[in-house]
Amino acid sequence: MAEPITFVLIGLYFVVLIAIGSWASKKIHNTEDYILAGRSLGFWVFTILIVCSVCSGMTLLGVSGFGYSSGWPGIWEQIFVPLSASFCIIVFGVKLQAVGKERDYMTIQDYLADRFESPRVLRGLSALSGIVVSLIYLVGQYTAISIVLVWLFGIPHWMALVIAGVIITGYTVVGGLYAVSWTTLVQGGILILGVLFMAPFVVMSAGGLTHINGVLAGVDPNFVEPWFPSPAYAEYAFATPEFLVSFGILLMVGLACAPHVINNVLAAKESRYFKWSPVIAFGVYAAVMFLVKFTGFGVRALVEEGTLVLPATVNAQDFAFISGVEYAMPNVALWALFAVIVLAAVMSTTDRLMLTVGTMFAWDIYRNIFRPSAPDKEVLIVSKVAVVAAAGGTLWLAINPPPMLAWLIWMGIGVMLATFAVPLLAGLYWRGATGQGAIASMGLGLVAATVFGYWHQFVAPLPVHFSLYALAASALAMVVVSLLTAPNSQDVLDNTRTGWFIQSR
């Protein structure tokens, strides 16, 4: 299927990534350089890093697929997900970056351990749950990469995984966050410009937005409504008002406190970036996501009119974007560019996840729990080994992906929300939140997310997203246990800028 120009462009793209990795490796002198790029990220590198860490491998394929199958009621995803980047910067980032610089935090676990005076238990619990969730997410990313490479080159699944794995692991191991952030700037640029350029062609080839909406309304009048009526009357009509509320909290807050997203705020060079990065991150990301969604609508219209046929697979809707571009842009050179865009979207999340897993293991578990006396060089080596191990393990899992992979990824986001959101929010904004409260909140959130997630999938569907119940349990545990236990010291609360404000007065 692939033309020589596709090989050339993808080859060139890989060479650029490796060159950035090689350049970045010269800047790594200690663990802080490796984990936080020496806290030196400039405005655009930081903003695009946040956006592309949220923007997962399934963004192009999944977003257009959701548009294809559910129409306009699913459009809220395109507001909630970009908003998670802004939420992360404003609600978590402003305080964490300032306190992190003063108190030398390397990870969010450093903050939790310091704020809640729990250097081992809370740090260990949050690092472990962060690693498990990130690994699940990582398997999903590698599976998405292999889908793209297999489809492009017709090579075996395992070969596609090994090629992608070796390149991403290579530049992440040698260049740490310097390599991840600068490759992400390149990948983000390709993704943003590519979608802005290509999506309008698909929409126009389907007859324009007005015509597409007319066709959608003919399929199901609710496809052009802002939500589906409650209760859901079909499998595709799950975006009811109550579901959308829970979906909004899940995406906006859950993604914002995901370890591979929130840790980025510690690497920003200056606090003044937080002034305009929220609106710019939202604007750029939402523009791209709306356009991708519109391609899903367009492809649905083309299919309904008999112009286009999607592959006869179970997840046919995930091929909406690919099929739409293939139909609208038969030019081979543009097609090759499109291949690079999809790879850029997938790879920019994968490298950040791998670095996050390596960091949490080396810094939080190895250095801060097992070997506090470990010299910096040793921690740096352990970080690199952990990145390689995370890549190897998840590649192996991705070769034979678990049958419930999609469910596991949604579980992962739900677990992030249920375990991290309450301890972080309460820690930053409520002086009464205690260490025991945080441990109870995180522990109960983890258990409740697993129980409700299992219940929703295997016993009986719940009316709202399962993670909302787990979030409520986590919040309740935080409030009750904190009220029953002694508060943290006033010094710690002052030093961590705890209180009901975002910026210090």
């Binding site: 507001i79 937005l209 003044r272």
Partner: protein, 35 residues
């Protein structure tokens, strides 16, 4: 009608996007760089 959508859909979705942008812009103006 709004690009072939019922007017209320266009207003609700468009209004939500505008609201978010306005709130985030207000945040930008209220952000104190000195802290």
């Amino acid at each position: 009608m709004f690009f072939g959508l019922p007017l209320h859909t266009g207003l609700i979705v468009g209004g939500a996007v505008v609201l978010v942008i306005v709130v985030l812009t207000l945040w930008g103006f209220s952000f104190g760089e000195a802290s």
